[in-house]
Symmetry: C2
């Protein structure tokens, strides 16, 4: 142990020589990029009035529409439909409603026909009745081959390169990076560490009910039907309080589901940065805000200026979108 | 920032020279101490078959009876009774039951007279109707002067010195240390960082309901009546799964409320260490196990040998108990 630490320390002595490379190469040289870098410089410079100790450098990001794409539906729903189809192959009797039948047939329109109730039915059916570890393995397996229903691109590749760079940059500068998403916690953990470099304990999300039982001699945590916590809107500050217990100093979102988290975090003392990814790029991604059925952004658009939040113009601020 | 990192790295180059000091000076040189050190050595030595990467070195500890004392009642109940008394000074009409009246009068027997229902009534009444930050400040203020009802010793000093040393030792060896307790999450966060060196995001506990609201223009998280999560028994593995998302490799508890957490964690692959603090020292602390109304330990005593869990004999294994 000591030998290893010693060599790690020696490496660190060299590794921390100043590097002048651009930390955000996929961001155009706009005011947006300047403001992000100025915030990081100010909060990490001990000589700055805005210096923040590493323990308080908490940065939280929404996932759907902020770190990866979310159109035409949350990718978690695509997984849920796929799993309903696979479950129905084993046992067709699970298809007890038109919505579940549509899901099993890959009929997105039919799956959406019952609104939120139908979506919950699909998610609860597909996300329960197995152990947490089996579920995370199933998501991971699905992601190996899942492609986008419109573009045919691999789902796992539909993450935003500029945000990957931002996450790395923040961590290099001593920030802890968290996901705070309405998405399911076990769903996101199946890829968050590999894709975003965010370990499981820094993934906060919605959660179904779960239970502990010794099954055939094996202590197991099972995913059960029912919803334990919805990490959206007012749920986001509550989720952050319960899991982190500190108010973040940097928050990134993209929809009005992130409004309360932005409002709460940026109202704290000291330097704060709120940012909203505005989907303005119909050519390279999608363009949507107020009227979108997914990721609707209205209040955030109206109030971001007055609140000093940074509106990221995807079309103008991002040189590249995809990795 | 770079300058600071560089000096941190230079410091590290010297700080990691081997140190031969005993990491656990308050532990007697018994088999218990040897097993703990052997486990840490094996899991941190890259040449060992039992080597565990730092990211997976998760150690979790119960709080009441494991990190600090819990007799004659959980100290959180003493706080709750004190707060009920202070609340009643402002508004006597809150004392709507005999149990609450007893609590306000500092009558422990009366407060316990209604069993668990009464305790929940006292805790819910005293732990709601204020913001999380006001609550944590109130707990912190209380701890400045709170003394034990039997010994008159400061409550905040009734932590176990051997466990403080174990926490530090584990962190020095690259473990992340967590609390996983039936105690309230906001109650424990008021002192966990100062006393145990455990930051808020590594405190897992029971939680009341909470809500987010903008009150007089101030975004606030309020503690509400009602219980959101009970982090005890089967709740402990579930709390760990939801908050950490990894199975700990080292677990410390003291009562049957920790059984499921010990069972689940020690059933994982690779090296595992489960430990139970057995309260055997009536002279320096308290001696209790099977028949105690607080921290009852029965199944853990019966099964610890067969499961390979380490039973810590407080009287024999600890040279000192208090800091």
């Amino acid at each position: 142990m000591r030998t290893r630490l010693l060599s790690a320390a020696s490496l660190l002595c060299f590794a921390t020589l100043p590097a002048f490379a651009d930390p955000l190469p996929s961001w155009n040289d706009t005011d947006t990029k300047s403001r992000i870098i100025a915030f990081v410089d100010a909060t990490t410079d001990t000589a700055s009035d805005d210096y923040v100790t590493p323990a308080d450098r908490i940065a939280v990001f929404d996932n759907d529409g902020t770190l990866w794409a979310e159109q035409p539906v949350y990718f978690q729903l695509l997984y849920a439909m796929d799993r309903v189809a696979r479950m129905a192959e084993d046992d067709p009797s699970i298809l007890t409603s038109d919505v579940l039948k549509a899901a099993a047939n890959g009929d997105l329109e039919g799956a959406l026909a019952n609104g939120e109730d139908g979506l919950i039915e699909i998610v609860v059916t597909s996300h329960s009745g197995l152990s947490v570890s089996a579920f995370e393995q199933d998501v991971s397996d699905w992601l190996e081959t899942a492609v986008h229903p419109q573009t045919g691109a691999p789902i796992i590749g539909m993450v935003y390169q500029p945000m990957l760079e931002l996450l790395s940059y923040l961590r290099d500068e001593g920030f802890a990076t968290y996901i705070v998403s309405g998405g399911g916690i076990h769903f996101m953990r199946a890829f968050a560490e590999d894709v975003y470099g965010i370990p499981p304990q820094q993934v906060i999300g919605s959660a179904g009910k779960s239970s502990y039982a010794v099954i055939d001699g094996v202590p197991t945590i099972m995913k059960d039907p029912g919803i334990a916590f919805v990490d959206d809107k007012e749920g986001k500050p509550i989720g952050i309080d319960t899991k982190i217990g500190k108010r973040p100093i940097l928050v990134g979102g993209n929809s009005d589901g992130d409004f309360e988290m932005l409002e709460w975090a940026t109202a704290g003392d000291g330097p704060r940065l709120g940012m909203i990814v505005h989907h303005t790029d119909a050519d390279r991604e999608w363009a949507y805000d107020r009227d979108s059925h997914i990721g609707s952004l209205s209040r955030g658009l109206d109030e971001s200026d007055a609140r000093g939040w940074l509106l990221i113009d995807m079309a103008g601020d991002w040189a590249n979108i995809w990795p």
